[in-house]
Each structure stands twice: as structure tokens, then as C-alpha cells.
Symmetry: C2
Subunit: 462 residues, 2 copies
């Protein structure tokens, strides 16, 4: 067979042992916090019926859904005349009935509707699974990537919003981030702003422009608003809202004044204030909580709170986001179920942690000790020690077959194994084994029992 | 929108919170044992290039590979004349360049070859990921299911074989299985049997027949051997081998006598004996280790040891298996890399554990305590307690918004939450909260501090 260098499809990745340890560290930390707040894990199939996914992500999104070719004689069902048109779009649904999960939200909505009679509401679920998008791959954008979502459906209590803020605070704090902001806005405030200038229908244009304040500044936003048909008078009216300053309390106060004529706008202010009051009872440990009315992500489906999380330590896009939606399951015929959810951007969090060197050293160490040996006698001598270590739940390896000691040490180094034990003929005679700390290079002669004791103690202090 | 009841594709499954907790329990246990023995986790992409998978699983296997339809105008590349043949097979490779992982072995081989310069050999890796097969779904057979594999490549030491036996013993023992057998055979012994009757070329026919001994008995096997062209004389010669009895040592002794004329056969006996000697140094805790020369699974690629694991407590197919292969990576151009690996059948292990009621009660409990309340005042009163509990790493929830107490208790019951705290007006006045054990129904009045203490102590004793 010609040996073509094997590769993975464009936009997909292998994860090496070192990367897996770090990724598991992130996912395990986030999952443990989800569980602490009462969220329960579910998993849905990689493949969904095409009818479940199609039409849920807009025309652009639909094009990015990976479709599964029907098994067997997939052309059998296709009308020959249709085939001669050579029109891909026309025959797609004839030759493909299933597709790969595009996000976790639509499968979750499908799950809730399908299992509504088994579910206890409010239903607090989390889900950590890969999704696939036929996007053009580029730096930091993959065709296969993990999403990490938590949602609660069937409860309109704002305690849920507050708890998601606490979850972000706790999870990212546990991961070692020291300076990050959780930005909060409310769709009703944005609606209020549109209402006070009598342009409720133009709310999308308005928010798209305001959303760019960070990037293009006030002048840029004004220019864009004018281009989008807003008048100079409109702009004068909303300028103070856009340029809101001061503490969260001060901002809320100014907003209430500006939105005095909009019932919806004031409702939005009330909601945000309630969330702030919950947080006052349960103060955050690390995160800064910021009211940011330029935040407008996901506006087409969010109906209440909108969240976005950014690190202030590294230049990076948002590392999390979410919001409240009033009709998640309506698309599958179950109306009126409100929900709120958040998402962690695991790939970006990984990059932030790499840049800030936040992964614990232990996250890189799976095996704690390697027992090196020169021959069958050394191997035989080492086996009881190996077993004692494992009985104590110490991850341990015995190098198989007598390779050169240099090779065995290289093996330990490459696997970041922190300790080695060398068993040579002297060691077997005296019962004193060479125990080496691979980080410091320190070496001492110890009995097997002393080595076990040392590694057990060592583990206890990590 | 017409509300068609949403569903998942045939042969795929949703996993509910209860199922996920149990599945995680199985996977986490197995992973922790893999790590203890120095195995490191990798993950490969869900999609592989079709060229990586095609031709690796035989014609029948190839048909069961799920193929991904190319994105965009997939027909553009297809010759119109070819299309008019209406021949699905002919155009498959034109409209599909990627496919879903069919097992973990071929992607692992691809990974090893692709990353050979970054890998430290012997490379001990484990991998737990779903695979997809377009098989006809039936009871216990799914189109999407998890595989759970560990392999070591680049070491011919039989210590690896012995350690896999220890891994099975430890992992399945930890999961609570009390009576199970690890069966071991060696391809070289099967070759030896074929050699002593001068039918080396008919080894497949021979082993297919012998493999059925359990099911069809000796008479059945003899009938089948005769049908497959073996002579009465052949059968007389191999009968004692098939009917091997006694302890492993006795069986080995008989085999050595029967295979005295086959160098390969004796080599197989030596290998098995070496593995048994390793196990004598590190005795198994639970498993029975049985030499079983009727074991012939995966014969087309195994070259040395062959494993199979069966529970003796429940009637169920094999719950694990594996073996040594001499040329895993040859298909991708890297010759001469030997390896040995095993697999756990997670779905079957799940069913065994369900039947034997082996899942720990705690595996069903994510949230430890629910704080129930009647109104905003109760909610406000409960928040500091909620926070204290979480600070102590107790999974805790406060029921959002004042629902009826019956509904809150139902919520606790349905989620298997073992404790509840009720905060009513009396409780707020006295500072003594109603703390209820949901299993026993016992109720007592405790301060918030006492509740925290009790739950922390309780966790420590689990």
C-alpha cells in the first residue's frame, strides 16, 4: 500500500494526552460547579433527524449543517428526472435524512419536548458534547468543537439568572482566572430604548449599532445609526443611555430616568435590580459584575437577561455568554416554556489558561512513579512494589523489559513522571532502592516500604 | 407549525440525568484504573477522511460506515454521465469525502502514524468515545455507542498482557462484579493445533468450529469439522486438545505434550505461562483467570494473546475482550509496530450492573439538599445557608420562587435529593429550620450551622 501521510479532516483536531489532561481539568471543574448548583447532565445523539435541525439556525446556519448520506442505495429513492437537473439542493433531502448536531440548544429543546412527561420542572440540565459546523476553518475556529451549556427551563425566577452569575464566578475563579467581567443586560431595556424614540420596530438596527461601541467608538456608532435611518433627534435622546457611566446602581438610576416613559424598559431595570440584590446576598468572589447596555448578543431569541463574560487579563473574545428566552420549545410544539441558559467557551478558556500559565503542574502528570529495571530479575523484584503502590491508588508503571536506563529515564521525562525508582543488582542485594525526584534531580536510597510511604504522603499534600 | 412528536434517529439514544450518572460512574471507574496503570487519554475527531477508514473493516464493514455528504454543491464534481447510471456506489466517493468513526482502533493507528515523532514509545493510550455503525438496530445493538479501549504499542513485553488482566480484575471488581472470568488464549496455540494435523492453511475453519464448543457441544463441533473437510484422524488428534481439563497448569502441561511437534504451538504455551507467572507475583482480587483454547475471537488480526471477559452472575455475552496484534499501523505505512489492547463493553456492563443492582445509591444523587421556602422572605432567609453549603462543596439548591410545599417535595423526590430544609415564618422567627431526611422521613429542628455541619459530616462518611 502506498503510504500517504495520514491526516485528519480540515478543521478537526486530535487531542494528545497532554491536551486531554488540560481539557479534562477545564471540563471537570465546570461540571463540578454545575452539579453544585443542582444541574444534571444529559447527552443527546450525535445525529439528529434532519427535520429536527433544519430551519432552526437561519439560511446561513442551515448551509453549515453536516449531513449524513443515507446508507445503502441512497439514489434508489431519487426521481431520475430530478437527478438530471444536477441540482444538489434539490436532492439533498432525498439522499440524506440525518445530520450532525450543530449546537446543544436545539437538541436540548427536542429532548425536553420528547421527554416532557418524565422531566421534573424546573429542569436544570447541563450538557458537554461536541458540535459540528461546516464553517471555513481559521485560527481558533474549528469544524468540530465542544460546547459546554447549562440551562434551566420551566422557571421564571430571577434567582436562576443570579445563580448563573455565581456559577461563572465560581467556575472561572476555580480555574485560576483572577480578573474577569460578567456583563449583564436585559432585552427589555433595549426594547425600552427603541420605544422612547418610537422606533420599536427598528430595535435590531439600533442594537447592532450600539453593540459596536467598544470597537468603533461613539462617533462610529452615531454614523452607523444615521446610516440606518435614525434621526439626529433620536440620537440626542439615546446618547445618555449609550454613554451610561458610574457604578451599576448609578447606571440603573440613570436608565430609570431615561426610560421613564417605557413600561417595558422599566421592567428590564427591575429585573436587573432583582438580580443585583440576589448577588448582594451572595457576594461574588472574583468576578466583576457590570451592567452593560451595549450588550446585544443573540437578540433574536433572548427576551430577558443577556450575559457575556470577558477576561481582562488577556486579549480574547468572550469566554462565555447566555440569556433568557421565552419560547425554547415552541419550535417542537410545546409553547410557553421559559428558560435561561449559559455557555462556557472551552477552547478560548483553554487558550487563556495557557497564556496565563494557569494549568496546575499536576494536571500534566498522570503517572506518579516509574520503576526502572535492567533485566528479568529486576522486573520480578519490582512487581510487588508496583502492586503495593497501586493498592494505595498511586498511578505507577514498571518499564516493560530491560531497556537501557537512559531510554527509561527519557520515557519518564517525556511523560512528566515526577519520580523514578531504579532497581539494579546492588539495590536488590541491599533492599535499598534508588529513588529519584525527576524535578530536582535529588536521589536517595530507600526501602520499598519507605518509597510507598513517601508517595502516599506526597499525594496527600498536593 | 404542525407539532410532530420529535424523536431521535433509529438506533440512537438520549441519556437522561439518571442514566448519565450511572454511565459516568462506569467510565470514571474504568478511566481511573487505566490511569493507575500509566495509560493516557487521547481523543480523535468524530469525522475521519474516508480514505482513512475505507478498506479496513472488510466489505461488510465498509457498508456500515456512515458517510458525510460534502458541503455546498456536492454534485458539482460528479460527472453527469456517471450520475445518469443511477448507481449509488459509483458516485459515493464523489459526493462524500468524510465518514464517521467506525471504531477506535483504526483512528488510533492513524494517530500513532501521524504523531509518531511526538510519541514516546511504548505508548500506552486509552480512549473513550462514541462510534457509529449503520447496522440494523436491535435489542442491545445501537447505531451510536461508546467504545472504551486501552492499547500499548511499541512493546512486546508480556507484562503488558498481564497488566491488562489486572486492569480487568481491578476495574470490574471496583464496579462491584463478584464473579467473572477472564479467558485467555494465544493465536500461536491455535496455529500449533492446525500444524500438528498438517492443516495450517485451514486454521480459520478449525477455530470457527472449535469456538462453538460452548454452544453446540463436542458432537456438534466434530460434525462441523467433518463438514469443513477435516478427517476422522485429524479429529482424533485434536480431540484431547479441545477437551482440555483441569487447572490452568494442568491444561498447559497437556497442551505442551499435544503440541510437542509444533514450535509455534510451544511458543504460545511459553507466552501464556509467562503471563501466568506475572499474575502469580501480583495475584488477582476477584477475577478467575482461565486458559480457554476455544477462544478464537478476532483471529484475523490477533497474533498472540487473545482475551475475553464474561460475567458468571448474569447471562450476557462478553463484557470485554482484546488481544495482541503485530501490525496495527502497517495499514498507514508504519511497519513492525507490535501492540496489545483491550476493550470494555460499557453498554453490557451497564446492563449487568442494573440487573445485579450494583450502582451505588449515591450515584443517583447529584443534589444533596433542597432548601424549600414559601415566599420572598423565606427565599432571602435561605440564601446565606445556600451559600454556606456550597462553600463547603455540598451540592445544594434553593427552590426558585414560592411554589406549594408539595410541589417542592415532589421535586426533591423526583431528583432523589436525600435532604430538605423547610423555611417558613415560624422557622425564620426561631432560627430553627425543619431538616428532613427524605429516605427515613425523620424530621428535626436545627440551626443553619447545625445543618451545614451535619451535611459536611454526612459527606465525609459516604
Amino acid at each position: 500500500m502506498a503510504s500517504i501521510k495520514p491526516s485528519v479532516p480540515k478543521g478537526t483536531r486530535d487531542f494528545s494526552p497532554t491536551e486531554m489532561v488540560k481539557r479534562n481539568y477545564i471540563f471537570d471543574t465546570i461540571k463540578s460547579v454545575f452539579r453544585k448548583y443542582g444541574y444534571q447532565q444529559i447527552e443527546t445523539p450525535t445525529m439528529e433527524n434532519s427535520s429536527t435541525l433544519t430551519g432552526k439556525y437561519g439560511d446561513e446556519g442551515d448551509k453549515l449543517i453536516f449531513k449524513i448520506l443515507n446508507s445503502g442505495d441512497f439514489l434508489a429513492k431519487v426521481n431520475p428526472e430530478k437527478l438530471t437537473t444536477h441540482n444538489s439542493q434539490l436532492i439533498t433531502s432525498d439522499i440524506s435524512e440525518k445530520a450532525l448536531r450543530y449546537d446543544l440548544t436545539v437538541p436540548f429543546a427536542r429532548y425536553v419536548v420528547q421527554h416532557q412527561n418524565e422531566i421534573t420542572f424546573p429542569f436544570k440540565r447541563f450538557q458537554v458534547q461536541p458540535v459540528w459546523r461546516a464553517d471555513r476553518p481559521q485560527r481558533g475556529r474549528y469544524r468540530e468543537f465542544y460546547q459546554c451549556d447549562a440551562d434551566v427551563v420551566g422557571s421564571d425566577s430571577l434567582l436562576n439568572e443570579a445563580e448563573f452569575i455565581m456559577i461563572y464566578d465560581e467556575a472561572l475563579g476555580k480555574l485560576g482566572l483572577k480578573d474577569f467581567s460578567i456583563k449583564i443586560n436585559n432585552r427589555k431595556i433595549l426594547s425600552g430604548i427603541a420605544q422612547i424614540i418610537d422606533k420599536a420596530d427598528n430595535i435590531i438596527d439600533l442594537t447592532v449599532a450600539i453593540d459596536k461601541l467598544d470597537k468603533i467608538g461613539l462617533d462610529g456608532v452615531i454614523k452607523e445609526l444615521l446610516e440606518r435611518g435614525f434621526t439626529q433627534a433620536d440620537i440626542e435622546k439615546i446618547k445618555p443611555v449609550i454613554l451610561l457611566e458610574g457604578s451599576n446602581t448609578e447606571k440603573l438610576q440613570s436608565l430609570r430616568e431615561a426610560l421613564a416613559d417605557s413600561e417595558t424598559g422599566l421592567k428590564g431595570c427591575d429585573e436587573i435590580e432583582t438580580v443585583f440584590n440576589y448577588i448582594k446576598s451572595c457576594p461574588l468572589q472574583t468576578a466583576k459584575l457590570e451592567l452593560d447596555i451595549t450588550l446585544a448578543r443573540g437578540l433574536n431569541y433572548y427576551t430577558g437577561a443577556i450575559f457575556e463574560v470577558k477576561t481582562n487579563e488577556v486579549n480574547m473574545g468572550s469566554i462565555g455568554g447566555g440569556g433568557r428566552y421565552d419560547d425554547l420549545t415552541g419550535m417542537f410544539g410545546l409553547k410557553g416554556l421559559t428558560g435561561v441558559g449559559i455557555s462556557f467557551g472551552a477552547d478560548r478558556i483553554y487558550d487563556v489558561m495557557e497564556e496565563l500559565n494557569l494549568f496546575p503542574a499536576a494536571a500534566n502528570q498522570s503517572t506518579q512513579v516509574l520503576i526502572c529495571n535492567f533485566d528479568a530479575a529486576g522486573e520480578q523484584y519490582g512487581l510487588p512494589l508496583l502492586q503495593q503502590l497501586r493498592r494505595q491508588n498511586i498511578n505507577a508503571e514498571l518499564y516493560p523489559a530491560g531497556a537501557k536506563i537512559k531510554k527509561q529515564m527519557e520515557y519518564a521525562n517525556n511523560k512528566n513522571i515526577p519520580y523514578t525508582v531504579v532497581i539494579g543488582s546492588d539495590e536488590m542485594q541491599s533492599g535499598l532502592l534508588s529513588f529519584k525526584n525527576m524535578t530536582t534531580g535529588n536521589q536517595e536510597k530507600l526501602t520499598a516500604e519507605e518509597i510507598v510511604e513517601k508517595l502516599v504522603d506526597n499525594r496527600a499534600t498536593i
